[in-house]
Amino acid sequence: MLDFLARLFRTRPRLAPEALQSAFREHYRNFRALITANNNALELMSLAEETLHSGKPFGMAFVRGELTALTVNVYKMVHSLVALSDGRYQALHERFRHITEAIEAILSRQPEVTGGAHCLTMAQIDRRVIDQVGPKMANLGEIGNRLGLTVPDGFAITAAASRYFMESSRVQDEINRRLKTLDVDNLEDLYLVSSAIQELIRSAPLPEDLDGMIRDQYDRLARRLGTQPTVSVRSSALGEDSQHGSFAGQYRTRLNVAAAAIADAYKEIVASKYLSQAIVYRQQRGYRHQDVLMGVGCLAMVEAVCSGVAYSRAPEDEHSPWVVIHAATGLGHHIVDGSAAYDLLHVQVEAPHGVETVHLADPQRPCLTEALARELARQALRIEDHFGTPQDIEWALDPGGRLVILQARPIGAPSKEASPPRLQAARDRLAGETPLLAGGVTASRGVGAGAVFKVTCAVDALNFPQGAVLLVDTPYPEWAVLINKAAAVISESGQSATHLATVAREFGVPALFDLPGAMKQLENGQDVTVDATARRVYAGRVEPLLEAARHRPNLMQGSPIHKLLEEALALITPLRLTDPNSPYFKPAACRTLHDITRFCHEKALTEMFNFGHRYGARDKSAKQLVVVNMPSQWWVINLEDGFRPDADLSTPFVRIEDIVSAPMLAIWKGMTAVPWAGPPPVSMRGLGAIIAQSTMNPQLDPAVRSRMAGRNYFLLSRNYCNLSVRLGYHFALAEASFSDLLTESYVNFQFQGGAADERRRRRRVQLLGELLREIDFRVDIKGDSLTARIEKRPVPYLKERLVVLGHLLIHTRQVDMVMDEEGYIARYLDKLRADIARIRQDLTEENTTVGTPAQHPVD
């Protein structure tokens, strides 16, 4: 009774036919706009989710673009619904604004700079000021001040100082403008933009007070040392050397800088944030440029008789019993640049630290005595012990015979290989083959194949093709820009301490170094397979080996941009509003953009469903579908041109023959193509469970009919169809649009709930999902609810899938009753697959006859 009154109250005064027609047209126009926006929004949300979990690199431009497009579409839905409902859902505007503002706040978040000091002296530096001076300087301070090892004296110019410099120079806007349009895959463009930006920074004046402060720090350093030392000026970027990214060799270091040149060197280091390899690295690893703040260290130069790198563990083996030492005469950043001949020593991790000489650059003159090597190993192990992870340490030996630690950072995790046993088997099978090249040093484990491409200069690099094998003479850090394109790296010289090796390990790209003669022996364009682990290069593509070794790390996981998208998506994709009959299905309950789209879509359907009734327009009202002169349990609402023009609209019925909606006819065809086989054998427990559920949940009682929710209905026009079904306790919604425009060509399907216990409901959607995937639907299953989509496909393709969908809609309902019988499930699946195959076969033969609906009880 109340229901009746409410409906009566809402019924509008009858409109004149013309006004009615125009009101309906306006409704339908808004409805269509909403449906299109809904489809776009669903596609964008699923693309964003997919990207987040794919591990493929994406940048802020992608995130902003995606979220902007999504916002636009959800806004249009809200706007259309408010128009469609004569302003009834105004409250959605407020919810929408609230959610989008929260997303915007996440996107525009800036990294914080702690502490206002622009300079700190070495004595003030340890891990506690890591957020001011960056990890490289903080670690060095820690080693000097806490461990008492020898480090160079000097000072740090903090991140706050570089921010101050960039702000006062006002070049950041111009930098951002140039980066915005940069395509990092276009190396030519990349080099140009990179050098232009660096020039901008280098030519900007240093603020006077900062300049003065740096001079003052230098003077104090000179007084402490009693000389006027030259200094090394090094990057110590915030966020560098973190667990997530090594940033190895990304930025510049200037050595032997005289007092007068420190300011220029400082600007050069700050500018090196925009070196081409650093720009690419950030893009690949999911860092925004603003996430990296430059701290800079100025350290008194150490006069070195020899220098090098020490690994507290062999870099490719965390359980290695050896400390690995690389040493070269003089002061060598050549070792990490990959350009020096060097001594290689192994020192036992366990006392008494036995020394093993692996090779010497000059056998007559080793750089280090055994005693010094042992002392260096002890220091390396102390540093590892202090920081808790294996360390990569740069060191020097001064003329007084004193070891000085120049830098320490964690060794990146060893590169991983998939399924070692399979890989071993594949390698064993190759035992008889003669490799093109063998030997060298494993710089990064793994197997890769591609055409050889030699790179000797930047011009070669410009032409480097995706998926080629990078072949170089020397592993310079600049070649890191090519790592993400390379299938593998071969170098004539170099070893695992080079920056290029570190980056290769990080990106999971196999690298084999120290293969003299490789440049001569391999031809450009020749296909090779590089097994960097086994230190062999084979001719051609060795597929079994490649197959067994397939592995690429997820480079984005845990990066700032990854986290940012993850946080933003938490306000976007979760769906809480699932049950339209719940009292919580209302604007105020919308917590995410997905909730809003779901709400808008549902209410738009309701508005269109109720239009005819509310406005007293018989031709716009729901009509009962008549099949072979029998009224069926299906209702149909014509939105525009879904009926034949000459159909009789004066009665509350419509004949199937009068329907011309292509998507509806496709679904209907599937629903009726194969007659229902009758109830399958039912296990008593199965039926019992269904009955028990029905009695506990009044929503499931088929006798309870709220106006719309209880009906099975089609809303349709010639090229659009929305089908809502409640069949045997299942709720299903299929929506399809056919069009010449790809944006408006799609099939959406939702399936949810139903009787039977949780476990069976889950199994049912799993099963349905499996069948839908087999016909190319993108399926997403959460608990017992399933969504499946296909979009942007030609009409015949969509039509075929709609027919199959129609069939599944009718026939999966029987699956419930056989859920417990494994044998039946398998047999039933086979039957469904056979039916599907037959339906698709029939379709290709273009059988367009519409049959009678399957004879089955409708609940």
């Binding site: 306006e26 126009r29 269509r32 706009a33 299109t36 431009a61 902003r64 673009g65 979220l67 902007t68 497009a69 916002t71 636009v72 806004y75 249009k76 706007h79 989008t100 997303i103 915007e104 996107l107 915005k180 349009t181 069009s739 010449d740 425009l741 790809l742 944006t743 408006e744």
Partner: protein
């Protein structure tokens, strides 16, 4: 779906205008271009365009003001904002001023054509 014929492009980049109008012409659209809002407004005032594609950055006035001007002169004329600047705030501002859509450069021609047709039909000026 009905197809509009007369498209007005307003953008400060001459190169972009030239390339885009050539490509749209190949898809059977009649295209006129303007590098300034004022010139675009004159074409709108003459009642010629059926859909406007408008850049957000213009030399004489900002795109939002231009949009507001167009919508005031011709409320039923669909305007698609096209910009190199992805911003949720700007996009919402555009929609609130009556834009039909807000898209990002670079945009595939097929996609832009679809957006033009959809905007034309949705804004109801098809009739």
């Amino acid at each position: 779906m009905e197809r509009p014929r007369n498209i007005l492009l307003i953008d400060d980049e001459e190169e972009f205008l030239a390339a885009m109008s050539r490509r749209l012409a190949r898809r059977d659209f009649e295209v006129r271009t303007a590098t300034r809002c004022a010139k675009g407004m004159a074409i709108v005032a003459a009642g010629w365009p059926q859909v406007v594609v408008l850049d957000v950055m213009l030399p004489d006035t900002d795109g939002m003001a231009c949009l507001a001007g167009i919508k005031q002169a011709a409320p039923r004329l669909p305007v698609i904002m096209l910009t190199g600047h992805a911003s949720m705030q700007a996009s919402l501002q555009g929609l609130e001023h009556g834009a039909s859509d807000y898209c990002l450069k670079p945009i595939a021609l097929d996609e832009l054509v679809e957006k033009i047709i959809i905007a034309f039909n949705e804004t109801g000026s098809a009739r």
